[in-house]
């Protein structure tokens, strides 16, 4: 099957939003062995959406439209599909009822009448339910010169589009679970070129392929193979996969969809242990990464953000330590990690301090960071000091937060 992506929205052509939906769909389709040869973006213009859709339909088996399902006059995806398949939209009573109920359950006043458009349907379209929003999708089965064609219209917001694609569209398309096999290794404490050196000629292959990606939580290495069946693809990847695993063994913290914060919380929960944080540099980001994981409260007690200078002393970092070493120091990080564990009565304390910029601080340069883990049972501490490139403030903060999680992972895995 050949699929084509058509993202609809003037905001895409104005660069106001980045088209992450296309990357998500492309990746998912590739995993299922579907080829994408073309991908287009068009603005909210009925003539151009219709033209692009017609062209896509002529050369691709399935066309996936993203966006343009909102309630306003600018949302034209339904009109374009109706025009291309030559049908007329009418309000579907069932969809209308669901839509009005949705508005009531949201505790809003009555549904604005313009939203009625979201209850439209054409004869060849089946509605795809959208538990995350008011716009149902459309799944259209049609033919072109006797050949079957599918048109799938999905809403633009990623949190609506993703579940609708996976739970509603994929089963209807009867896509194979995977004729493409892939395994991603997630590493830390190693740069992309060092990874490449370790992998050597392994990255030269095409099937299986081995590729590296620098991500915010570390370098990822992806092994992928294609074959006629999922089993054959996995078999084809097997020996390269195990060689990559062996070459990176000491640096891998997770695989595939693993998230570093979730992996850490699982490790703690499994042992009935808990964690608290004390943040300066990262200002709450560490807590945010941890609490973004469902069920975080099983292991995360909480934390303190001691942001302004004097708050570190107010929360117990000894004044003499701050005067001798400064609040951007390995010593301060160590004291903060201990305070976190003591204050929250947790098994581990994790702390960050450093200079995010734009300017330096206490005579320390932008990018200097200090991280510490304190283990309460035996008072053991582990401190790591790093000098990041003096890049953008939030790049430094984010890298520091992941480096802190990486340090804790190492301690928990030792």
């Amino acid at each position: 099957m050949i699929a084509e992506l058509l993202s609809v929205g003037t905001e895409l052509l104005l660069g106001e939003i980045v088209d992450t939906n296309s990357a998500f769909l492309a990746q998912d389709l590739a995993r299922r062995g579907v080829d994408i040869l073309w991908s287009q973006r068009v603005g909210d213009n009925l003539g151009r959406v219709t033209l692009a859709l017609g062209q896509a339909l002529a050369r691709s088996d399935a066309v996936i439209l993203c966006g343009g399902l909102g309630p306003t006059d600018d949302d034209l995806t339904r009109e374009a599909i109706a025009a291309v398949v030559g049908e007329t939209p009418t309000v579907d009573p069932g969809l209308e009822r669901t839509l009005r109920d949705r508005f009531l359950s949201y505790g809003m006043r009555e549904m604005p009448e313009r939203n009625l458009k979201q209850a439209w349907l054409i004869p060849s379209a089946e509605a795809l339910p959208n538990p995350q929003g008011t716009a149902p999708g459309w799944f259209v089965r049609t033919t072109l010169d006797g050949a079957p064609r599918w048109l799938i219209a999905l809403p633009g917001p990623p949190r609506e589009l993703r579940p609708m694609w996976l739970n509603e569209a994929v089963p209807r398309l009867k896509l194979s679970p995977a004729a493409l096999y892939s395994k991603t290794f997630k590493t830390h404490n190693i740069g992309e070129s060092t990874v490449a050196e370790r992998l050597g000629s392994l990255t030269d292959g095409a099937n299986p392929s081995v590729a590296t990606y620098a991500k915010r939580d570390g370098v990822q290495v992806r092994v992928a193979a294609k074959a006629d069946t999922p089993e054959a693809a996995a078999a084809r990847a097997a020996s390269v996969e195990s060689r990559v695993r062996e070459l990176l063994r000491d640096r891998v913290w997770g695989e595939d969809d693993d998230e570093l914060a979730a992996v850490i919380l699982e490790k703690l929960s499994a042992k009935g242990q808990t964690l608290a944080t004390m943040e300066s540099l990262t200002g709450g980001l560490l807590g945010d990464l941890l609490t973004s994981v469902p069920g975080a409260s099983a292991a995360y007690e909480g934390g303190v953000v001691a942001y302004r200078e004097h708050q570190k002393a107010a929360f117990g970092v000894p004044q003499t330590l701050l005067e001798t070493h400064g609040s951007v120091s390995a010593e301060a990080a160590r004291a903060m990690a201990e305070l976190a564990a003591t204050r929250f009565e947790s098994d581990y304390g994790l702390a960050t301090t450093g200079v995010a910029g734009p300017g330096g601080s206490e005579g320390k340069p932008v990018g200097e960071i200090h991280l510490a883990v304190f283990r309460r049972v035996d008072g053991a501490d582990t401190v790591r000091s790093l000098q990041f490139p003096p890049l953008e403030r939030n790049w430094v903060r984010e890298r520091a937060a992941f480096a802190a999680l990486s340090l804790l992972w190492s301690v928990l895995s030792a």
Copy 2:
């Protein structure tokens, strides 16, 4: 001028990278008054790149190609351009010298011969220097049926593409600095359809245009106008802009590049006042949003994340209050806001509590949230309780964090 973007690379169609170059170029072109009606992505296939390029050239004045300028056999942008304009690439001696020197200066061994491709040129192309990498761009002047056409080939890596576009391509295209005027109003406490109702027929216009966007920090309304000069464009937008401003006056917290956290910190700094937070639901996100602003420490003291149930009591929320009302309650939020202000000796305290899900808590449903602001000078408090739709965990947390900032903004602006 009408421009079209053509991103080249199989990795885009596999979803391995997100196409941020298109958003960057689109935004920059829009600012300069250039319309983009189409945007395409194609894989590393000479036939399809050539086909897409020919189609783009037929309907657009300028075609900007991103990617495909590397040294490998998969990098086919030069070949496609040469095919479309009917010329044959040859090695340019000047470019070859620069390229070989570049390799030497990188401290690398001799240039791999495959890189010689990066010294290719065709008669109608001018090379665009690339101080950030080895691939020069191409600036091609040609005609189609007597009408002038421009083809600009830029390298894929954003840190190479962006300066080449701004420093080399834009001056050659003689683009005006800005013939598009735009003003964005950022609102809170109002839904997209209510905004649309207030705006009425104002959204029907094309020039000036008025469009609404639902963003994570509230609904944005953008007024845009085009004209021959920046001044004329601003004049054209003026009356609609002031009507929109008037219609939304009570809901607007900022304009254009304003960020809610930054606006709040500025308000506080201007009065020499400070803020502290106590978070449960948002788990550090509120602190993160505030400290992502450069210079946040001028007004943000810090915060406490009292995530597990018993930590709220440990940090001073009265046990009787927790037993009577529960930790997900307006009363708990109020107590937390006061504790934040007292503990950090700040002028204001801001607190969040609620149920992020996936499951309910204390018999309260997912999406129930309580926010509070406490003002220390007079002990005044402002509490807001909301029921969000029971959507994805991090959607609820993010919306709650912005709702808390919105509440604080209202108190500071009263």
